[in-house]
Symmetry: C2
Subunit: 468 residues, 2 copies
């Protein structure tokens, strides 16, 4: 932009992680930024509430890259818990550990969404050209004029004029709806026939964790699934995923007796971890799981979408927020490459990004089957070991899918393509057929075994793969 | 239903072909039927308008089966024109004829949407328990109460109480929107990056047709496509399909010079068929093409969707309306099978039908490529001949895809499965490789040649295949 003209004014709708990160990045570019959020200011919540009330997220390489660029990673990491792998809880109570990668840097960080959001808002709010407006719901967007109407908690409305509007307002994005109104817009929305409910596994007296702290815990049962994330206070937030209808489902778990019988059968170690399990289960709301895809992501140089606003996914790969943060980097890069043509920047952003977030939805759906079905099956475990072994033998040419998705910034679509090529190669070699038989011995011989709980692989540290 | 209770009252929203057919079928079952339509009564349009203003449809076996069941087929056929095959207009002006099937019954009927609609409404309106309300737009549906609010052309609104609501209100269905509001509903909408525009090829003086009357005409050009349907007065309604953007697109055809140069290049015989081509092209509106998929199709025993309301497709297989009429039959059958449990009937209807209309969308997308790209390529023509030859040799075991879709009532999903099996078999036999070389001679020897224009295959008549 020229030095004489006033810098463009960006209206960001939604100040969750993606919206707040966008505020930082646009603020740095010199834009005047006003970010509107319908919820209250998360900085005003008491700390205790932050941990209890917030959903937990797995922050991984893509999100870390984005937060590093924004200069907030150190503050964010202070509230994060390292998760070096998954602890699988089998039906018979046995535990096993699967590391998330082949070296110490290939790990996840469990973080509360609110804690992350607070750090991003704190950093953005320090910039003179960035202002936040909380308790302001977006009622309407004029996509050509780049004006938006916001309604405060007191019912009063305000029409605001921007140069462009950023829709960071989630899966049910108001910006998207106004942007696509009467347009030839593609839109796809599907709900999983499973819902979810959160339970708290509190810390033991004295603040120690009742289960391995530095790990995600998974209870895969095919027709039921629990995933838990650790909190810094030693507690874990467990999410129970179940079908809405059917023999074992939320529909059939209506009384305390039904709930306790179900857990005793399906998750025998959980009643010992969650006090007042039945009351908590019946008292907590059941959430639904939506996935969306859409196009276009922008309207001229006037409106653009980021994060869940243009591609919501199910939570089974821990990539929803990471992908949203990555969107912001790609959009920021394109604004830098097209300083005089914002429409070209928006178009290049969609062009660079949409195929990847479409691929992510495929990856997430596949990973749901893996998480609930196969994570504890011997062939799956052997296959994972083979993948890591091949990765160690040919570190650049063979990369396990999980590694590409979670521990690199390789575009999701490229990760999916490479994975499919690797799968075809294995099939052609007939590996699947002999896997369960021959491999465990081979792996054991090479000492690439999965450790028991509390063990962490001690591979040489290697910088994470990055692909612009 | 019992004889003592008043029969249930059905509110049908939308009185197009599917809504009007539903009125007949529900009326026959003894329901009290009120059908609301936002447009004016099509029976009041002057006949001349009906032919000029209406889009034309290809009525084929599924639609014929439905209209036969409803007892309206004879009246409908009086306004239809037989189309025994397609006339392909090549770029160099050469014409070739491809029959639609292997016998005289495997043909299409070109019919005006309004003419069809009028016949259906006339028949339905003769029933004492069926009433139509025109110029009434549906503003709101209460999915649990089965009430709907209709607004007349004078602005006055009326809330109507039914026992259930049938959404026959098209791709942008209001019933669907109210039924799915805040529900976990899947919804998919995509727009083709091509639009369409209609042109009239008038009859020659004296009322004869300027091109073969009893055929659809196709101008396949890869990046442009024209399809025309014959009208009873000797005219043809031609639909020009083009990309919205790009070198040859609606965006680049803005002046009379551009339009005339485009047609001279791409469709050299069309300027001679359409008087004032450029003025007509620039004056007529450009329509967009939407496809939708959704679930669920019903809410309890209170709301149910039919036709485009639950599955709009692009017009490239001529099946949109046929599938909508078929929906009505399936729903009517299920109401007959579950006389005391309407919710079970609705659920069985969705269950029987959705996989098939999902398959239809796949079929239509594939057929778009065929229509615009390959319909005039030698390998495609040879392949079509092989298909018909194999069908003649093994009439029950080998059925060309087009035949299954258009000339039978075999469920669409089954047609797609059988087609894929047939394709795999051919590939395994290596047929594709030798097709272009060996087959034409073989076909010629068997006299299964495609005739020049005006020829119609004189195969023995065989009743159409039907599969419940």
């Amino acid at each position: 932009m020229t030095t004489n003209a006033a810098p463009p004014r960006a209206l960001i709708v939604g100040a969750g992680p993606a919206g707040a990160l966008m505020a930082i990045l646009l603020g740095r570019r010199g834009y005047r930024v006003d970010a509107y959020e319908r919820r209250a200011d998360p900085r005003q919540l008491p700390d205790a509430d932050v941990e209890r009330r917030s959903i937990n997220l797995g922050l991984s390489h893509r999100g870390i890259t984005a937060l590093t660029r924004a200069g907030v990673i150190d503050d964010v990491m202070r509230t994060a818990v390292r998760a070096k792998g998954r602890v699988i809880h089998a039906s018979d109570g046995r535990l096993s550990f699967q590391p998330y990668g082949s070296n110490e840097r290939e790990i996840l960080y469990s973080i509360s969404r609110i804690a992350l959001n607070r750090e991003l808002i704190r950093h953005a709010d320090r910039m003179e050209n960035v202002r936040f407006h909380f308790g302001m719901r977006c009622d309407e967007v004029d996509r050509d004029a780049a004006t938006a109407v916001f309604r405060g908690d007191d019912g009063r409305t305000e029409r605001v004029q921007g140069d462009f509007v950023v829709g960071a307002d989630g899966a049910y994005s108001t910006v998207r709806q106004w942007m696509h109104r009467n347009e030839r817009a593609d839109f796809h929305q599907e709900y999983l026939d499973w819902g979810y409910k959160e339970l708290l596994i509190p810390a033991a007296p004295g603040g120690s964790s009742r289960i391995e702290l530095e790990a995600l815990h998974i209870w895969p049962r095919g027709d039921a699934l629990i995933v838990s994330h650790p909190n810094p206070d030693g507690s874990h937030t467990a999410t129970v995923f179940l079908p809405w209808e059917g023999p074992r489902s939320f529909a059939t778990l209506q009384t305390e007796t039904q709930v306790m019988r179900f857990f005793a059968e399906a998750f025998p170690d959980v009643p010992g971890l969650v006090p007042e399990l039945a009351r908590e289960f019946l008292g907590h709301p059941t959430g639904s799981l939506v996935a969306t895809r859409t196009a276009p992501w922008h309207h001229r140089d006037r409106c653009v979408l980021v994060g869940d606003g243009c591609h919501a996914v199910y939570p089974f790969y821990g990539q929803g927020m990471n992908a949203g943060l990555e969107d912001c980097l790609v959009l920021d890069d394109q604004l830098g490459r097209h300083p005089a043509d914002r429409q070209a920047a928006f178009a290049a952003y969609q062009n660079a990004r949409k195929a990847n977030t479409d691929a992510l939805l495929e990856l997430v759906k596949d990973n749901f089957d893996e998480l609930r079905d196969t994570a504890n099956q011997p062939t799956f475990v052997a296959r994972k070991k083979l993948d890591l072994l091949l990765h160690r033998l040919f570190p650049e040419r063979w990369i396990p899918l999980y590694t590409m998705v979670v521990h690199t910034t390789m575009p999701y679509a490229e990760a999916l393509r490479r994975h499919r090529r690797q799968e075809r190669l294995l099939r052609r070699l007939g590996v699947d057929a002999v896997l369960a038989l021959a491999l465990p011995a081979l792996v054991a011989a090479r000492r690439l075994a999965f450790r028991p709980v509390r063990g962490v692989p001690s591979a040489k540290a290697r910088p994470p793969l990055t692909h612009a």
